[in-house]
Amino acid sequence: MKHFTLPVSPASVHWGYFSKKVSPALTLRSGDRATIETLTHHANDDYERMIANDPGAESVFHWTREHKAVVRRGAGPTEGPFIRGSGEGVGVHLLTGPVAVENAEPGDVLEVRILDVRPRPSCHACHAGRCFGSNASANWGFHYHDLIEEPKPREVITIFELDTSGEPFAKAVYNYVWTPQTDPDGIVHPTIDYPGVRVDHTTIKKRENILTNVKVPARLHFGTMGLAPSESDFVSSIPPSYTGGNIDDWRIGKGARMYYPVAVPGAFFSVGDPHAAQGDSELGGTAIETSLTGDFEFILHKHRDLGGTPLEGLTHPLLETDKAWSVYGFTYPNYLAELGADAQTEIANHSSLDRAMRDAFRKLRRFLMTVHGLSEDEAISLMSVGADFGVTQVVDANWGVHGTLRKNIFRCD
């Protein structure tokens, strides 16, 4: 067993997409471990607190008229002229990786264990050692067309501080309404439409004393974790799908084990979109987006060894924690295959919880019948009385409903 370290740098990240074409930032073997740094793509909402003097973050976010350290951001076009910028922000998450796993082949399952998760402290003199995150109530939020106060519509950034001295929690510092921001290439961003644009704090009006007396219990987790899909070379990081990705379930934190079906040789695991806390549904469009570092262990399960294990027949991401199993239902379980050539844009027009619930039901039924050997009648009775369905997210185009089964149901003696 080896232990690797993967710090963030322009060379170890890809921004806004999953891809089987990106050269691996790290190659390891089943059983190896890695410490992987991740950055939130919302760090520029408060440059001073979340980027300044942090060499890793500064190197990735570096963008002047002369030089943009990570040019492509999103799965969109990389040839100009651009509406928003290279990659066009079709996908927004800063992902570290990919990590290639030796000998991984399509049909195998990759198990990723999260051994530990730690926040990344600020390096700025005024805030050194303290940890911050940003929450955007954004144009892709569930609330955006249903606001009641003026101005309508509006986007709002709330900066939180994460306190880890005791039971960790987050506390709001200030908020502001998004104002049009001009990036170093001269493109104006009237809404949050391209990641990594530094917000010029002279253009915004900070409102302090917000959410006073409210503390949000921390749920450190990675919103986006997954493998490269086989269908396209560049796949937007926003809609989650059969190889995982932007699942946005806060249960994917320390102690969690995720299982993903491998779609391309080497598996190509990437991780990012770190969150300090999120509620089921991620209603406003984002969590408390906070740079985190994780310790991971990778275990490859070869296709021929899957029979008779909980991974038999797995065609979708699966979560195991100490207490429960969860399957993830989506509006389209594999939107890339189902929606054809325009899938990456089309998916946003079809978002629905009703379809996601249907998918979660089918996945959980399959899990109970295949893995636990139940008859269909047993599976349905058990789902009715012992499985909990919840809203994972309603903001990532391919909406999610998870079905959760407590492990103590099977602990019979």
């Binding site: 939020g141 569930f142 067309h145 009641i148 406003g284 039924r365 789902m383 079905g403 103590n408």
Partner: protein, 782 residues
């Protein structure tokens, strides 16, 4: 997107009027001066195109007038739905019934009053819509009321169907529809009402003659002479006209009568009329003659024909997989006589028979379960209370699961209370009404009440001084299971779970036979010491539903009527099911309701603002639910006890297990609500030790939103997407009004810390709940 939904649920009480004004002003209307201002439940769907607004409104009684500053000269078009309106103009009052179209000038002295509910489609077109095209120079300064028929009818129907599909049209489709509505409108203004006529052709006369016949079908003595006279022509000419059309007067008249009769015989809404009544009112005063003529024409006797139609309706309802009232039978609902058929005993037992015993200054009451103390499958504002108690009193309420009949030996036998409720022989059925349907079972023939609602509810309990606008706090102090009283199973506890035809899975089963229902009987085990402290359920056996003949001889092909005793020899029990699996308990009551204000008989299945079938397992021991009181006395009912349930209740039921609850009821008067957590409450609010749980529904108040169609429509249009929207709006309102946050703070907090989950997808009105942890608001020091 040009579509904008509106619901009053988004707004606090103080903001509701202003928000509603905004909605009205979008179509050029304003609340009438001096009329009662509407601040209750309201929904509206609006869609706009250039110069065009189409809106569908559902709100409470109110009156509207023109928004005075509007100056455009195209009229506002208003189409009342379901109920008529009162039109007041400078010259007086006029009642306008449904189907009529009102053209209302943008200025002037008029008002339209909706005496019951405001349910209307409104079209507002301004000259922008015509992009400078000449549409004539309309002069429009007085109100016009257009009767249905002809062009008005075409226009009204287009308008109504456009409004009905307003959410689902794509932008392109909507623009085309909006434009054609706008293009039709000037036709009204250019061509006045008078029919300029032209030559009165023979066809036109014949058409009028047919209309006369149509109006007089009920007259057994209708003769050609009288019809001719009515139209001012000779009888000979009349006969000639009919002959010219290849028929004869007599033949035509009989055909029309038979057609009308057959239509009425196949209409479930007419099912409470006898065949001879229907024949008689269509002009057949000799029933033997009618039967012969009918058989000759349709090949079946009227009785056989009617039976065939009922079966067809049943089959199609089962295919649609929808519970509750079928749409076409709703007319019957309106003709219900309040309470006439409710609980068997018109004079209820003396309130609070079980002698209250003092406990501090508050009294403790006990409501045992027996046939006179329950109402089965419905809520009603008209039921006499079983107990009347004071705020602060505690009460123990015994409840039975309606699924006890799935294994009568284990769950009914030997238990006097359960036996009394479930007693059903060929001669006697102790609780006849089961559901909100007709007592004659004239819709599907399942049995009295038709199983439109299935839960055995104990109560109601009246709370002294409770008035609409108050809030009833129901604290659940304790829940204990009801053990078997059968000597063979003495002390053991059992429950049943049915994967039923209304389950979420039903239309996509994998294994054969498709469309099967499976019943699983569970045994409940109390927790032991230490590590074994958790109580749990284990499956005992299961069986597939087989057609059951109830004691009155009705065959139930599916689980379509509650309390049908299962004959053990008709089903095949399979043991060793769910082997090695034990399910931790979450004892709770699926149904906790106060009586709704809208109707006398409300199906117990869809949950709504009054509580009801919430099916949220968080309603267990130690938790509290706050319910908005809608009728005097509140009238609390409890039932549908569950040993455990998952979020979603996927297969259609939980582990249904009879239980007894102890509750404390606390009344909060409307005047004292300000500043409390449950101020401005329009939905059931759950409080547990650690959380606030807000209940979102597809249709937060389906009775008000859909009016008379509610008890059918709510089953047809449920969706998690709608329920999620409702849960979001309720949580935003709670955070803003109760916790004092701004909208921006509320949304940030919902993203970061509020958990939304699926409550149920099987109760007609699907639910999504929002959970707010109380920990968030503990004191912070940073």
């Amino acid at each position: 997107m040009s579509f904008r939904p509106f619901t009053s649920e988004s707004y606090s009480e103080s903001d509701r009027l202003e928000a509603w004004r905004d909605v009205l002003s979008a179509v050029g209307l304003a609340p009438s001066a001096g009329s009662v201002l509407h601040t209750g439940h309201a929904t509206a769907s609006r869609r706009t195109a250039e110069g065009i607004v189409l809106a569908r409104f559902a709100a409470g009684a109110q009156a509207v007038s023109p928004l005075s500053q509007a100056a455009d000269d195209m009229p506002i078009v208003l189409l009342p739905i379901e109920d008529g309106v009162t039109l007041r103009t400078g010259t007086g009052h006029q009642i306008v019934s449904t189907g009529h179209l009102l053209l209302l000038p943008r200025k002037g002295d008029w008002s339209v009053a909706f005496p019951r509910d405001m349910r209307a489609v409104i079209l507002s077109v301004t000259s922008e819509a015509f992009h400078g095209r000449k549409v004539g120079k309309p002069v429009f300064d007085e109100v016009r009321v257009l009767a249905p028929g002809g062009f008005t009818e075409v226009f009204s129907r287009t308008l109504e169907s456009a409004a009905r599909n307003i959410e689902t049209l794509s932008d392109t489709e909507w623009t085309a529809v909006a434009q054609s509505l706008a293009d039709l409108l000037p036709t009204f203004i250019r061509s006045p009402t008078t029919d300029t006529g032209g030559t009165a052709t023979q066809a036109a006369i014949l058409h009028r003659l047919c209309q006369v016949i149509e109006r007089k079908l009920d007259d057994p003595d209708l003769t050609p002479a009288r019809v001719a006279e009515a139209e001012g022509i000779s009888e000979r000419y009349l006969q000639k006209l009919f002959e010219g059309s290849g028929s004869s007067f007599t033949h035509y008249l009989r055909e029309r009568r038979l057609q009308r009769t057959s239509a009425e015989l196949s209409n479930p809404a007419e099912a409470h009329h006898s065949i001879s009544e229907i024949a008689y009112r269509n002009g057949f005063n000799d029933s033997a003659h009618f039967s012969r003529a009918f058989r000759h024409r349709f090949g079946l006797s009227p009785r056989e024909f009617r039976q065939q139609e009922i079966e067809r309706a049943t089959a199609s309802a089962a295919a649609a997989g929808q519970r509750g009232w079928p749409q076409q039978a709703l007319a019957q609902l309106r003709s219900h006589h309040p309470l006439a058929n409710a609980r068997k005993s018109v004079a209820p037992p003396q309130p609070d028979l079980a002698s209250p015993c003092a406990e501090g200054q508050h009294l403790h009451h006990h409501l045992s379960v027996e046939s006179d103390r329950v109402h089965w499958g419905y809520f009603s504002r008209s039921l006499a209370p079983q107990a009347e108690i004071n705020s602060g009193d505690t009460i123990t309420i015994e409840t039975l699961t309606q699924h006890a009949s799935d294994d009568p030996a284990r769950m009914i036998a030997g238990d006097a209370g359960a036996e009394s409720v479930f007693h059903w022989t060929r001669d006697a059925k102790n609780v006849d009404r089961r559901g909100a349907g007709p007592m004659e079972a004239s819709v599907y023939g399942r049995g009295a009440g038709e199983g439109f609602g299935v839960h055995i509810c104990t109560g109601p309990v009246a709370v002294r001084d409770a008035q609409p606008g108050d809030v009833l706090e129901v604290r659940i102090l304790d829940i204990v299971p009801r053990p078997s009283r059968n000597p063979d199973f003495e002390g053991q506890v059992f429950g049943s779970s049915v994967a039923a035809w209304w389950g979420y899975h039903y239309n996509e089963l994998l294994a054969e036979p498709k469309q099967r229902e499976a019943v699983t009987i569970y045994e409940i085990f109390a927790g032991g010491e230490g590590d074994r402290a958790e109580s749990y359920a284990r499956a005992l056996y299961s069986y597939r539903w087989e057609p059951q003949t109830d004691p009155f001889g009705v065959v139930h092909q599916t689980y379509d009527y509650p309390g049908v005793p299962i004959a053990p020899d008709t089903v095949k029990r399979r043991h060793n099911v769910l082997d090695g699996i034990r399910i931790p308990l979450r004892p709770h009551f699926g149904v906790i309701a106060v009586a709704p204000r809208e109707l006398d008989f409300v199906d117990s299945i869809p949950p709504s603002y009054f509580g009801g079938n919430l099916d949220n397992w968080r309603l267990g021991k130690g938790s509290t639910v706050y319910l908005p009181v809608s009728v005097p006395g509140a009238l609390l009912s409890v039932g549908d006890p569950h040993a455990t349930q998952g979020d979603g209740e996927l297969g259609g039921t939980a582990i249904e297990c009879s239980m007894t609850g102890t509750f404390q009821l606390i009344l909060h008067k409307k005047a004292d609500l300000a500043g409390r957590v449950f101020a401005d409450l329009t939905y059931p609010l759950i409080e547990t030790e650690t959380d606030w749980v807000l209940t979102g529904f597809s249709h937060p108040n389906y009775l008000a939103e859909f009016g008379a169609k509610g008890q059918s429509e709510v089953y047809a249009t449920s969706s998690l997407d709608l329920a999620m929207k409702d849960a979001f709006r309720k949580m935003r309102r709670f955070l803003m009004n109760i916790k004092g946050l701004t909208e921006d703070e509320a949304i940030a907090l919902m993203s970061a810390a509020v958990d939304f989950g699926v409550t149920q997808v099987v109760d007609g009105n699907w639910g999504v709940h929002a959970i707010l942890s109380k920990r968030l608001f503990e004191d912070v020091r940073i």
